[in-house]
Subunit: 339 residues, 2 copies
């Protein structure tokens, strides 16, 4: 149905429309790209492409613009990832080096991504459940109050204050500390329940009640609490071309303020090592139906810590954005895996 030239025409339409933001006509297309055919032929191809739903036109005598479906075809079959320029590579390096802690890494990353892609950037903090324990500290605040501090291999720190049913001696707290430390050190958080399963039996009987209660809280803090954070930057890029979001900026901004929405956006990926692209109506989130979202997981080699990506108009430089998102994800993944 669609021969190579028609696809080439679609590619040209996407390219022109992305760069000019104006409906593109047959004549301009035949001239600017060397298609080797006349505008009339291009028109025929356009009619076919429109028949198939890949392009449309705002009114009868206007040029064509790609539909969501057209962008989808473009992304899937007509484009290859754009390699980064050396300036971009340098920008990534200089931007991320010198980060002092996890917060700093994430903040720099999201800002970098926003600048690089000139879109809205979103970066999820390394997910708790996918990290492993570097250190678990139990602090004896008061006789009947403990503070749990968890440090993960990604540098993330979680803490929780815990009220005890009974008072504990310093010695008992030391026993607790040792018991948990031994079993959890280096363990992945998802494996924590298994690692702790033998704990009640192994403990001295007198300590058992308090131990199980501490254990409950530890597990709750470590595993069950889905406290996922995201950072966002570059929202002003949405206003760059006012035409892209005529009156629909409000729902976009609203959606971007909902942590839940963002997490859904970034988290909903099958294969975290691949870059995923959601185009316009493909988005599950109501308010983002007028945008496209490019996401990828980041982390050491296989397992992903978390996700990051960009949100922009469907009229987006997909090859560029995909390349940039992937590059940043790799770099940050290495950075966090390093130390």
């Amino acid at each position: 149905m669609l021969d190579d030239r028609k696809l080439e025409v679609l590619r040209a339409i996407v390219a022109d429309f992305v760069s000019t933001n104006e409906p593109v006509g047959s004549k301009a297309l035949a001239e600017r790209h060397q298609l080797g055919v006349s505008p009339a032929t291009v028109r025929n191809d356009m009619a076919a492409l429109e028949e198939e739903g890949y392009i449309t036109h705002p009114h009868t005598s206007a040029g064509r613009i790609p539909t969501d479906r057209g962008y989808r075809l473009f992304v899937d079959r007509l484009s290859s990832v754009k390699p980064l320029s050396s300036a971009e590579r340098r920008a990534i390096q200089t931007f991320l080096e010198g980060a002092v802690d996890l917060d700093d890494v994430v903040r720099r990353t999201v800002k970098l991504l926003a600048q690089l892609t000139r879109q809205v950037a979103v970066v999820q903090y390394p997910s708790l459940s996918r990290s492993s324990v570097r250190h678990l500290e139990i602090v004896h605040l008061e006789p009947s109050r403990l503070l749990l501090v968890l440090i993960t291999d990604t540098g993330r720190v979680e803490q929780r204050v815990l009220e005890l049913p009974a008072e504990l001696s310093g010695e008992e707290v030391g026993q607790l500390r040792q018991a948990f430390g031994q079993r959890l050190h280096g363990a992945r958080l998802v494996d924590a329940p298994a690692a702790l399963s033998d704990l009640p039996d192994a403990a001295p009987p007198g300590l058992r009640p308090v131990l199980t209660s501490v254990m409950t809280v530890v597990l709750e803090t470590l595993v069950e609490r889905p406290e996922e954070r995201v950072a966002i930057a570059g929202t002003h890029n949405l206003t760059r071309s006012p035409l892209d979001f005529p009156r629909t900026l409000q729902p976009v901004l609203e959606s971007l303020e909902e942590q839940v929405v963002l997490l859904k956006l970034i988290g909903e990926v099958n294969d975290p090592t691949m870059v995923h692209v959601k185009i316009g109506e493909e988005n599950a989130v109501e308010g983002l139906r007028s945008t496209s979202v490019v996401t990828v997981g980041y982390g050491p080699d296989q397992g992903a810590y978390a996700g990051l990506g960009v949100v922009g108009p469907t009229r987006m430089d997909y090859p560029g954005a995909i390349g940039q998102v992937r590059a940043v994800a790799r770099y940050v993944g290495d950075l966090l895996a390093g130390p």
Copy 2:
């Protein structure tokens, strides 16, 4: 120069313009408000007000709109703080109760403030330097690595990993812990340097080098690092009436993404117990010259933990915003001071 009726006219202009967002004419003004004079008289007053720079008009035959100077006069002398409705009071209570930790409190507060005022809300995290130490924990991660965890009375937790020049024994770490704990417990962070000043002399000579190096880092973490965070919400409110920010939305969004800018915005107050209002051109920040900012400090009684406030168009319901900002600040202050 300006008698009572002229001021009344100004107040009416502000009121009408804020609610309708349209230049207000003499006739409509005389009708809607009971000024007891004719439109012609109102016109004379308007001419005087314009002469003084309190109002202006977009073109010769249009109604009047307040200038920044006009809003200033309105805020300073012509308005009183609007008391909260009972629905608003209830909203504050239900919104903030059930917050589990500091992060949660701040997140809820900023969202609440955005909903209440229908503007962009900004909340600074309780400032480190103004809080006091609830607990300082020193964790012996490895022979030559320490982890410092600081918990403030506001529930804020800061941590820092510290590489030592030499290895330490567990016993020595215990000594460190005790030395710092004794001196810092309950102390305000600004007083930390003083509280620690006698430390080198009091310590056993063998421990001195490492102790001073730890001390440096502690002070750095506690006091010098100006790690101030802010939360923001409600940016979509900027798009509510597109007329307010015709083409100036971009710089506003850009400014609001700069932490530094926000901190400056909120931090620059003389008396933290008072609500401060910056109108349009009064703002030091370039990109926010088209907005007004209403801020106040929050915290226990006198000393302020930090600041919070809202950013909106100069055409803002000042009496309402001031009341809401103040109410939220008080409530959050109490909430944090309580436990």
